[in-house]
């Protein structure tokens, strides 16, 4: 496997210009959509089959409901090291590339939509026109030709950076320290730790506060972790059912009772 590629998004540098969102649409030739009124600058509310890159806007309020801080975060598929979408996919359409990214092969996907509900971040979207699931690929065609993803190229503040994961991780840690010195005491990395949740995210973030401020789960969980425990409970109940049937059919009618 080649060296893992990753994307580092530093929200402290984001100015909410949405150049990334536009560049993504253009490069991936995603069709226009009706604008959505979300009550903030954010448009759209969610990732869709035509929006793989989405700048989210959050207004953090204090206890009295007064506006405290305005947050912007350019969000994208995390290309999780342990990806719920990939593990769920029954057709093998979702695969991991030699760079560690997660892609959907549009010629294999049969549109079962399991991945849509299995992503812990609500990233994958179902395209009703093609009948298949779609999401960000880190611009698979570009990165295989030595170009960075379109969003990272377009970002004017270098809030989005793309490169080798190990290098980016080092820079990210430095940046947290800098920000802390500047007084942003809640600055923290999200998804950088490869021993952390989901084995680390290949799109990781520098946040200025708790993940929940940005609508991100504190501890995202791989849904497939449940399969073994849930199956064991099912086997237990199967044994009970089998036993019940044996007892019921062994009993004589005149004995009665359940």
């Amino acid at each position: 496997m080649a060296r893992t590629l990753a994307m580092f998004t530093d929200v402290s540098l984001c100015i909410g210009c949405r150049a990334c969102q536009v560049a993504c649409k253009q490069w991936n030739q995603l069709a226009p959509e009706e604008p959505e009124w979300t009550g903030s600058y954010q448009n759209h509310a969610h990732f869709t089959d035509k929006t793989y890159r989405l700048v989210r806007f959050f207004e953090e309020t204090d206890a009295t409901g007064q506006m405290k801080q305005w947050h912007m975060m350019s969000d994208v598929c995390k290309h999780c090291a342990q990806a719920g979408c990939l593990e769920a996919c029954p057709t093998g359409a979702i695969y991991r590339t030699e760079y560690g990214t997660v892609n959907i092969n549009q010629d294999i996907c049969n549109g079962c939509r399991y991945c849509v509900s299995a992503c812990p971040f609500g990233v994958v979207a179902f395209n009703h026109d093609t009948g298949t699931a779609t999401k960000c690929t880190f611009c698979n065609d570009r990165i295989h030709n030595g170009l960075g993803p379109a969003c990272a190229k377009a970002c004017p503040t270098e809030s989005i950076r793309f490169g080798f994961r190990d290098e980016l991780a080092g820079k990210a840690k430095q940046r947290v320290e800098e920000l802390k010195k500047l007084g942003y005491k809640d600055a923290q990395l999200y998804g950088e730790d490869t021993n952390g949740a989901l084995g680390g995210l290949n799109a990781f973030f520098l946040l200025l506060g708790k993940p929940s401020i940005y609508g991100l789960p504190d501890k995202p969980k791989l849904p497939q972790r449940n399969v073994i425990a849930d199956s064991l409970l099912s086997i237990g109940s199967a044994l009970l059912v089998g036993l019940g049937a044996l007892v019921a059919f062994r009993s004589r009618d005149d004995k009665g009772g359940a």
């Binding site: 029954p90 294999i108 939509r113 509900s117 971040f121 994958v124 009703h128 609508g215 789960p217 099912s234």
Partner: protein, 311 residues
Amino acid sequence: MGPGLLKSADWPLLIDLYFFLGGLAGGAFVIATIANLLDARRYRDVVRMGYYIAFLAIIPGPILLIVDLGVPTRFLHMMMVSKPSLEIGMSALTVGPFHLKLLSPMSAGAWALLGFSVCAFLVALDVFLEDRGGRSMSVLRLVAGVIGGFFGFFLAAYPGVLLGATARPLFISAHWLGALFLVVGASSGGAAIALILSLLGSRARESLSQLMRFTAFALILQLAALALFIITVQMSGSTGIAQALAKLLAGPYSLAFWLGAVVVGIVVPLALQLGGGIKKAAPGMTALASALILIGGFLVKYVIIAAGQAT
């Protein structure tokens, strides 16, 4: 706030129907197999009807699944693709063009559906030939019956495990959905056999009352699994749990849940059976109780899936 970002597969009623019929088929098959192993002659009616119902109930299964796909012509991709990718998950087994992903219940379920259908067809054919005056190939019936029985259990349970392996707040910390779906399959399989036998005016009063004894037991398990499901979800305390659970228990789906799944589907039939019906096995009473169990068996799956998928 996390759950607000999550998406839903929006599986429609077709899928609920498949889950219900698959569970019913699996349950009926297992009951027939056990009755066949215990005393093939004495329980001939149960065995015949169980195997027939299992076969008939599974026929719509693949059709419902295929119709629901975004690209129906690619149904076979569930099991095989001509040019598979190399890295398709940590639990993937590939042999040539075929693949099975052990941690993806949808992948395993597709194979189980195939295996079950083959067994259900063979056994139903054997019963049919015997009905026509031929001799049963008892070895075939035994082998296909036992193997198909394992597939039958699998078919009933896997949709619950599948839901548990999504990121939906109501499902991800539920853990009991597979067990619940399995016992619902058992109760609806038993009820389907009993319903048809009582409608046909079967002479086999004895098997009918034993069948009802079994479904009563399955209903008690069903109640227990339902309670364990709710308690486990409640106690997990994960984000979005309160709202997700409220949808089911107090919100838009509460009527279908409490009145449909609990009262009509479990409490009333249980009361009918424990209150004397079980001993006498009056055909009218049995038919009524069985019909209610079937309605409840569908509703409990439908309502949990609908509440869990609602945003």
